[in-house]
């Protein structure tokens, strides 16, 4: 039983991430874990670490949780929700977190991707370098209602693992469509033609936003594996 982690700042777009995660876990009995992260407190006592209340906007959190309960009830989602707050981050800590929560995917909403906090940028960077698949969500209004078809952009000849191929959406490998279209045909036309709702690509060892703008600009969620 694998779980899905959602890196969150409790902004409104966390709900979209929750919907996608619950949709993926319709069949499996996995949990969804909301992961909030803050810097290590500059304090003289360990007791301050006991509470994450000061580090999370409680109003936003309660709005998210109550809305989620309503959505869960309406859609008959079976996945249960857990929360975890993490003080500080490093590569070993992230690896241990992914192992501890038995995560098979991390979903990162746009608000987290655009967060100005150093710790959030660090988490994003570490996630790019980790083995765990990571889904980067676009703006809320561009997010498709159902993710049904994905296009796998295979830049490095990496095979798709069984766990990715067994996800609820249909993955179309780039090489399946290249022969049908002329080379100058843009990715956008291909995506419209095939009704693609998700881009899957192999992880690069740096932020996708920096050197992968042509994919991010498509406005689709990107699953880096």
């Amino acid at each position: 039983m694998k779980n899905i982690l959602i890196a969150t700042t409790y902004q409104a777009d966390t709900l979209q991430a929750l919907k996608i995660a619950a949709d993926f876990k319709r069949k499996d009995e996995g949990n969804i874990i909301l992961l909030s992260i803050s810097e290590v407190s500059d304090s003289i006592t360990d007791l301050l670490f006991l509470s994450s209340h000061e580090h999370i906007d409680q109003n936003k959190r309660s709005v998210i949780l109550s809305s989620w309960n309503e959505i869960k009830r309406q859609n008959n989602f079976s996945a249960s929700l857990e929360e975890h707050h993490q003080f500080g981050m490093s590569r070993p800590i992230l690896d241990q977190l992914l192992q501890r929560f038995n995560a098979d995917m991390v979903i990162v909403p746009l608000s987290f991707q655009h967060s100005k906090q150093y710790i959030h940028k660090l988490v994003l960077k570490l996630l790019h370098k980790s083995e765990c698949p990571m889904m980067l969500l676009p703006e809320e209004q561009k997010l498709p209602l159902d993710i049904q078809r994905a296009l796998f952009l295979d830049q490095v000849g990496q095979p798709l693992t069984s766990s990715i191929q067994n996800l609820p959406f249909h993955i179309i490998h780039q090489s399946m469509v290249n022969t049908e279209h002329t080379e100058d045909q843009s990715l956008k036309i291909l995506i419209e033609k095939l009704s693609i709702n998700l881009i899957v690509q192999a992880k690069r060892k740096s932020e996708i936003a920096e050197d992968n703008s042509h994919v991010v600009n498509l406005g689709l969620p990107v699953l880096a594996v």
Binding site: D146, S162, N166, P168, I171, H173, M176
Partner: protein
């Protein structure tokens, strides 16, 4: 003999053998030690006696005797004998001590000292040299304390061994009972499970020992049995329903037409209805027959390597001929340097039938919307994905869709018998493949078939 008694006996035998060996060892070593100690004492006495007996100086001889009397305790039956070491010494010794063997005398002559035991009567002989020549001194005593000690030790060891064996047997019984208790409980519980309470499970399946493994295996077997029972009962009820519906229609139609005299047009119409229902009946029975053939006639079919990409293309051609307006799109991943990557060892006709069934379902339940069929490579496996934008399957019904004759609740307006998908699933599994279905109501269904490269067929 019961396993419990066997375990106790083996346990007792092993322990008894070990204890007896140890006791024997302790007894022999103690006996040797006691013997050595007693002979040392005898030799000391023989030397002192020789000194007092052969000493020329009368004063020192008396002193030696006094010291001996004062400090050395006299042993039971202690006696010393003195002989001149000449050619007739053995004769003289045998006159006084007739039971001493000749070897004893030879040993004293050769090495200067000899020991001999007769029961617990010990003899120690030494060679003593004086100015008048060599003499042989023989000291004799009865080792009474040694006898007492050895008898006591022997009795203790025998009694201890016997008690230990009884104790070990009792302990073994207790231990064996504890070992066998879960087995007895499993046996009594399994005895109690019948067709009416197949949902009962053994509680002993917790833990990681062999018994938990056995209980787990029983539970797995019960899971399979329960599923099979459930499938069978569902199958019978569904099959009777499917067979009964057209039969009722035929009988009803025949009754109505025979009730009154009719004109020829009515007869023709009625016979056409009967023919239509009979055709439906034939379809169901043909499908049933095919389903049973797939189960039992596996060895009669020709098994050959088939290129899945070619098979999918030929299915597309067949579908285009059969349903010219279909929107099936077949896409194949390009695999470098290995044109045979998508090879599977299978019964081609069956595999074709399975794939056509799944694709036709996608076409049917999506009202001829686009159906995407892709063939892609994975890590050591390859995948056939078939997806549509159809009516989907209600989540609570997904687990039943591989049961023969089961039809989802939202399929009432589509014709079908509920045999195609179970048949396809059976064929896929028979070829070592896996079938996985993701579906969302009114959004679509994705069927994933996973095959091992060149996987061998299970017959």
């Amino acid at each position: 003999m019961r396993i419990r008694t066997k375990i106790s006996l083996v346990f007792t035998l092993i322990t008894a053998a070990t204890i007896l060996f140890l006791s024997g060892f302790v007894y022999v070593v103690s006996f040797q030690h006691s013997l050595g100690f007693f002979f040392t004492r005898l030799k000391v006495r023989a030397t002192i006696s020789a000194e007092s007996h052969f000493e020329v100086n009368g004063e020192s001889s008396t002193r030696v005797r006094e010291i001996r009397e004062r400090h050395l305790q006299r042993l039971p039956q202690e006696e010393e004998f003195f002989f001149n070491n000449d050619s007739s010494v053995y004769n003289e010794i045998s006159k006084v001590l007739p039971k001493l063997p000749e070897t004893f005398v030879d040993e004293v002559k050769r090495s200067g000292v000899a020991e001999y035991s007769r029961g617990f009567l010990r003899y120690a002989g030494i060679k003593y040299t004086t100015e008048n020549g060599d003499h042989i001194v023989v000291a004799r005593a009865y080792d009474e304390s040694g006898e007492d000690q050895m008898t006591f030790l022997r009795n203790i060891l025998l009694a201890g061994s016997a008690l230990s064996c009884v104790f070990v047997f009792g302990l073994g019984q207790l231990f064996a009972k504890r070992i066998m208790r879960p087995i007895s409980s499993i046996v009594s519980k399994v005895h109690g499970i019948t067709a009416s309470n197949l949902n009962d499970r053994l509680d002993e399946a917790q833990g990681d020992d062999e018994l938990a493994e056995m209980a787990g295996t029983f539970n797995d077997m019960l899971d399979r049995l329960e599923t099979t029972f459930e499938l069978q009962s569902n199958f019978i009820s569904n099959a009777s329903h499917e067979l009964r519906t057209p039969l009722t229609a035929i009988l009803g139609e025949a009754e109505i037409i025979l009730a009154l005299p009719r004109n020829q047009e009515d007869y023709v119409k009625s016979i056409r209805t009967i023919q239509y229902e009979a055709k439906k009946l034939e379809d169901v029975t043909t499908s049933l027959l095919r389903l049973s053939q797939i189960s039992f006639d596996g060895k009669k079919q020709k098994i050959e390597p088939v290129l899945m990409d070619e098979l999918l293309m030929s299915i597309k051609i067949t579908l285009d001929k059969r349903m010219p307006g279909n929107q099936v799109k077949v896409l194949v991943q390009h695999v470098d340097n290995n044109p045979d990557f998508f090879t599977i060892v299978c019964v081609r006709v069956w595999m074709e039938l399975a794939l056509i069934n799944i694709i036709q379902n996608s076409i049917k339940y999506s009202d001829n919307k686009e159906v995407l069929v892709t063939l892609s490579a994975g890590d050591g496996d390859f995948f056939v994905h078939i997806s549509d934008y159809g009516i989907g399957i209600p989540p609570e019904e997904i687990r039943h869709i591989f049961e023969p004759f089961f039809r989802a609740s939202n399929t009432f307006k589509y014709e079908g018998h509920g045999i195609g998908l179970p048949l396809a699933a059976r064929i896929i599994r028979l070829h070592g493949g896996r079938i996985n279905i993701h579906s969302k109501t009114n959004a679509g269904t994705k069927v994933t078939l996973q095959f091992q490269q060149s996987g061998e067929i299970k017959t």
